[in-house]
């Protein structure tokens, strides 16, 4: 598999009255063709900003991409002209956002919103676009697709709107879809429907998928590889199985221990992570996780640990990763 998207040392910052927020602070990752990558982390860790930066959708000002490169299918997205990046957005890279109500235009019909994208990117005639729109709605499991084209977003339920979003994202035959919390606003049975649909369609068309979520279960079910983010950085990355079963960053371990599991009987208390995530307007010296970390050593206060591989494709940004690994091995 070859790399489709290569993000390198990306930094995105926001100038606010409280100071500069380092929302994304030097993240690097790759997405291979046809693969599903999960980006997981808590509110404010920079997972959405990181993904929006890929499509240069950060409002400027107050935001700006301070440094880094984003190579997608051979070109650096950060140096493209506005006209060129517009061809990538919605064309080669599709997006599915969290809020299906606010990401569809409430005063335009479903049909118009679906066809517009295809007329622009695929240069289809209105008739061709309409025929393909019907095909797409049928594919994402919407009944009576021809009638739906005339309807407005408020006629549809949340799950149906998210199906429309998926249809739009797939409409221009993209190589990559970025899904930002695609099911967070939906009920659990509808969430399962939408995620299964996304999995099946991305597999069928060989589309790579980035799923951004705070839900560790969704990542475990759908992602091939996982990046765990904390305070604007990737602290651990690897295959889903490595990250969940052999975590090499204390934050990942903390997250996994603090979620209750539906498949385990009741008993004992959860092991929460003490404290709160840091304030990103302040300069963080050393490791951002240090104040909450039980593995912290003196060095963590001075230097920010770089992300380094511990095994093939499994990396951690922790000075004490070897000790953590040893302790977990002994415990199991």
């Amino acid at each position: 598999m070859s790399a489709l998207l290569e993000v390198e040392n990306l930094r995105t910052q926001f100038d606010t009255s409280a100071g500069t927020v380092r929302a994304v602070d030097g993240i690097s990752y790759t997405v291979n063709e046809g693969e599903t990558v999960g980006i997981v982390g808590e509110s404010g860790c920079g997972k959405s900003v990181g993904a929006l930066s890929v499509l240069r959708l950060i409002p400027d000002p107050p935001g700006r991409i301070a440094s880094g490169s984003i190579r997608f299918a051979g070109s650096n997205l950060l140096t493209l002209s506005e006209a060129e990046i517009r061809k990538v957005r919605g064309g080669q890279i599709g997006m599915v956002f969290q809020e299906p109500m606010t990401s569809l235009n409430p005063v335009l019909t479903i049909g118009l919103q679906l066809c517009e994208t295809m007329e622009i990117h695929l240069e289809l005639s209105p008739q061709e676009a309409q025929a393909r729109a019907i095909e797409l709605l049928d594919m994402v499991g919407i009944s009576e697709p021809a009638r739906r084209l005339q309807q407005y977003p408020h006629h549809l339920s949340g799950g149906m709107r998210q199906r429309v979003m998926i249809a739009i994202a797939l409409s221009c035959k993209p190589k990559l879809i970025i899904a930002d919390e695609p099911t967070t606003a939906l009920d659990v049975t509808i969430q399962a429907q939408i995620l299964e649909l996304m999995k099946n369609l991305t597999k069928r068309f060989g589309v790579a998928l980035i799923i951004i979520t705070h839900n560790l279960g969704v990542v475990a079910r759908y992602a091939d590889r996982v990046n765990v983010m904390y305070a604007g950085r990737i602290v651990e990355s690897g295959t889903a199985s490595d990250v969940y079963h052999r975590p090499v960053h204390p934050y990942t371990l903390g997250l996994l221990r603090s979620v209750p599991r539906m498949d385990r009987p009741r008993g004992g208390r959860l092991i929460p992570i003490d404290g709160q995530p840091p304030d990103l307007t302040r300069e963080i010296e050393g490791c951002a996780y240090r104040p909450r970390c039980s593995f912290a050593v003196e060095r963590c206060a001075r230097e920010a640990p770089p992300i380094e591989e511990v095994a093939n494709g499994h990396a951690s940004a922790c000075f004490e990763k070897a000790r953590l690994e040893r302790l977990l091995k002994e415990a199991s």
Partner: protein, 343 residues
């Protein structure tokens, strides 16, 4: 549900907490809302059966989970129990008294004993009040600790009980994080020494690392003060962890009720089964071996719900008779109640 069922539920509740009769008994609770035909119209166009013939008990020191998808009536059930809504019919017996029959004065007295924790720690705290005053307000209203100095002392105590630094009393809600605000909401609920707390999605808005802190706090408080919870939530993992028993609702009706571990290990109602299958488990190896069957369709509109069993249009087991007959809860195993004739 029949009186017999109520009796059996009582015995189950008393197993969890052996001290006599249940703290709360809900009998045939029904709440219908009428919807006007248009914005200006007074004509009643439709009736929504938000809660339809729901019965359960909660023992002293017991946490009962109430789960289901948006619009299934779980929040309305909680609001009826607190008498924030006047139920259409049914009985809510709390500490031996039917709350539906009490006058305003008597009800206000009872309200000291039952409190609520809301989902959104942002909108449930008055942004113009200091958090210390927010926690002290219920005591002021109910005339407990009328002297300011005593009240402040009690608020400081509640802050420490809820893991907040008493120095925070002079802060405003916007100066606190989501987790801290939720602790303020919990301290407010505890301020009147209640027996019973409705936790309406009390941890849903929190990030996982903070959520675990608040879950542990709720568990510690329940044990320390022998509190009873009605824990309304859509997150089934949290409910399994926190609750002794779990009731599953669908379109206003209870479809299954059992002890927590029993329900999750051995779900019987087809809706419960589909609900549990839909929840992804944070373990890739477990997920690899799970069947990812997807339940078809969406929850129908409560304005015009399906006849017979409300679940029949989505049910894999449905037969002709399911369209006509409304299934009643029956006890298939000790303490395990299911409203489906096909299991």
């Amino acid at each position: 549900m029949s009186a017999l069922a109520g009796a059996a539920l009582r015995s189950d509740a008393s197993r969890a907490a052996p001290a006599g009769p249940p703290l709360l008994e809900v009998r045939n609770l029904t709440m219908h809302f009428t919807v006007a035909a248009g914005v200006l119209s007074r004509r009643k166009a439709a009736k929504i059966k938000a809660v339809d013939d729901v019965s359960f008990t909660i023992g002293r020191g017991e946490a009962l989970g109430l789960v289901g998808e948006s619009g299934c009536g779980k929040t309305t059930t909680g609001r009826c129990i607190l008498r924030l809504e006047k139920p259409t019919s049914g009985e809510i017996i709390f500490e031996g008294q039917n709350l539906c029959e009490l006058d305003r004065h008597a009800l206000n007295e009872k309200r000291e004993r039952m409190q609520v924790i809301f989902q959104d720690p942002y909108s449930s705290l008055n942004p113009r009040m200091k958090v210390g005053a927010i926690v002290g307000e219920p005591m002021k209203v109910h005339g407990i600790y009328p002297k300011r100095r005593e009240r402040v002392q009690r608020v400081a105590e509640l802050f420490s009980v809820c893991g907040l630094n008493p120095k925070f009393m002079d802060r405003y809600p916007h100066e606190m994080s989501g987790g801290q605000r939720q602790r303020v909401g919990i301290a407010r609920a505890l301020s009147l020494n209640p027996q019973f707390i409705v936790c309406d999605e009390a941890v849903s808005a929190l990030d996982v690392s903070i959520q675990a802190q608040v879950i542990n706090l709720l568990e510690n408080l329940r044990e320390r003060f022998n509190l009873s919870y009605l824990f309304i939530a859509h997150d089934l993992s949290v409910v399994r962890h926190l609750c002794h028993r779990v009731a599953v609702m669908y379109l206003g009706r209870l479809v299954e009720l059992a002890a927590s571990d029993e329900l999750f290990a051995n779900p019987l109602h087809p809706y419960t089964q589909a609900l549990l299958e839909a929840v992804p488990i944070p373990d890739p190896d477990v997920e690899k071996h799970r069947a990812h069957r997807v339940m078809k369709g969406e929850v129908p509109s409560p304005i015009n719900p399906p006849g017979g069993c409300v679940f029949h249009p989505r049910c894999p087991l449905a037969v002709g008779s399911c369209r006509q007959e409304v299934p009643q809860l029956r006890e298939l195993k000790r303490g395990h109640w299911v409203a489906c004739p096909r299991v």
